[in-house]
Symmetry: C2
Subunit: 351 residues, 2 copies
């Protein structure tokens, strides 16, 4: 199997200085992939010249324009038809690449991906899904901001899509799926969450019910489905706390000469600890619900981090995630229509 990955070389805060070395690292790591670097040819070639690489597995596809990190999605869609982001997605649409990886503007990448690649049958809204470390492994959380005010059906679709992803990429036969909610009994959650709860209780997935924010990290749930606003708040708040803790840990070890000496002695322990929670290893959010594979890297990703996003793209190609999702969502829709017909028949009988 030969997998071709289109990399938006211009996206992210650092552009080619990150995307090119990360692509070369991926090529050396995975013998089954080739990469198309999409972006300003001169810049990419200048960066490539700094490295040793197998030229037969890398191509440069020139793109005149760049989508800015703060550009409005609607403007990027309308005015940036020659951007590296758009052309990378076009390659995927035209089957010249199997997946696209970009560290560009999230809103624009989602808007252009939806427009160019389209959603799978039955999916109204694609979702952004990322994985995060837990006390026992990792968890997939979606949506992280593509949808604000998703209804119950969308939340149920997110749950199914996440379940398919976990089955495929984690080789987890029966992933546990939860719905993000809060614990206050009588005011529990929004109507949409209750609606999704009803749909999921009748689905074939391993639905375990409501989970609260802290349970995301306990390791007892494999997929957490939530509205994009809530997911974004949970993810960003988590990032914020992690950064604050790391800040105070550094501060304590940097306080004076003695503490610096302790830091030196503790270095291997602190290193082992940091590797466990290193967010760079979890870089690469999947846009689920599209007909093809798109992976969004964090804008501030370094080469190690961007490499992980490419690795995620490769894995989803091998597992053929979009087809698996299409299959499961069709099954869900069929079940729902059976349930609806049954309930309709029931109502008619009673009438």
């Amino acid at each position: 199997m030969s997998i071709s990955i289109a990399v938006d070389a211009m996206g992210g805060d650092h552009g080619v200085s990150v995307t090119v070395p990360a692509s070369l690292k991926a090529l050396s790591k995975f013998s089954d992939i080739s990469i198309v670097l999409v972006g300003q040819q001169a810049l990419i070639e200048k960066e490539l010249a700094k490295h040793q690489y197998d030229a037969s597995r890398i191509k440069v596809h020139h793109a005149e324009q760049v989508v800015e990190m703060d550009e409005l999605p609607s403007k990027a869609l309308r005015n940036k038809r020659q951007s590296s982001m758009r052309l990378a997605l076009n390659l995927v649409k035209d089957d010249e690449a199997n997946a696209c990886v970009s560290a560009g503007n999230t809103g624009a990448l989602m808007a252009v991906s939806k427009f160019v690649l389209k959603t799978l049958p039955g999916i109204d809204r694609p979702a952004i899904c990322t994985s995060m470390p837990t006390m026992k492994g990792h968890v997939h959380v979606l949506d992280l901001g593509a949808n604000v005010g998703a209804d119950g059906e969308s939340l149920a679709q997110f749950a199914i899509m996440g379940s398919v992803l976990a089955k495929a990429v984690d080789n987890n036969a029966n992933p546990r799926v939860g719905l993000l909610n809060i614990g206050e009994e009588e005011i529990k959650g929004h109507q949409r969450i209750k609606d999704a709860n009803e749909i999921l209780k009748n689905s074939k997935i391993n639905y375990i019910g409501y989970v609260e924010g802290d349970e995301i990290y306990k390791g007892d749930v494999d997929i957490v489905s939530c509205d994009g606003f809530d997911g974004n708040v949970a993810l960003k708040a988590s990032e914020g706390v992690a950064k604050m803790i790391s800040f105070y840990l550094k501060e304590a070890f940097n306080k004076n000469l003695l503490t610096k000496l302790v830091a030196l002695i503790s270095y291997p322990v602190l290193k082992a600890f940091k590797e466990k929670v290193d967010p760079r290893r979890y870089n690469g959010a999947s846009f689920l619900g599209l007909r093809k594979i798109v992976i969004k890297s964090h804008g501030g990703a370094d080469a190690f981090s961007f490499y992980h996003a490419i690795a995620e793209a490769r894995l989803e190609v091998i597992k053929n995630v979009p087809d698996l999702i299409a299959h499961e969502v069709k099954a869900l829709l069929d079940t729902q229509s059976v349930v609806e017909k049954a309930s309709q028949a029931n109502t008619e009988q009673q009438a």
Copy 2:
């Protein structure tokens, strides 16, 4: 000034074994307070007998019933009129105590507080406000779960109430207030957040605009106003991440004999670090918008942690927080009614 604090001695996961020692610690720390321990007399006296204390500043008020931690708020309200929680709040209503502190069931405490103490004029819904550490100090976040689906006006009231609290308890003359939102430009936030944004732009408080989840912890905002669902998700997710990080840090230092030795050497540094982010120091959430002071302690609080909730109650009594809030909310309502009248006059003129 003599401040009387009614402590729901039965509330929380640990009951009198936490609330009694914490109360005695508060008495020895603050010479200006006295405490009424409300709950099962025999149990309280048994616990008191284990300690040395000044009997002139502590009273026991017997309560037959206890509100369970998982009891529905409506049931607690209806069936537990002789509970320690209810009687402690009655003491505050009857001016026999200046504030109530409870580690009991949050939903029940909010429902009973609203019923017994009532909200301030102009306030539809009280909010739960807690403080959390940041990279530069601390931040107040509200609401944390009392309101799901708060409208723009409520979010604006939360902002004002938080601002009043920060001014009073932090001696911060001009606290910076933000509205929790997500960063995706075109789908930015719910309508209620945009409505609150408009109200706050025209208010007298130091409103700095939208903040994202990670900005809660950066130290550049003093109050974050949000819907109860969002605040609860942000807080719980933050707790979850912090616990996970602490879990992996312990694991790294406990790995083998050598790392345990390193832990021993690092002990003072790790201790200094932990003190900085110790959630126990931030225990004690304020129910803002009520006519009197109610402080909710974490249910799992230990004595050190519960003591901090009592200290918060004392401070809010000294600063007279409810009156300050009443004053500011009235000013906001007056401004709004002026704005509405002006806009109405304008519309009529145009018509």
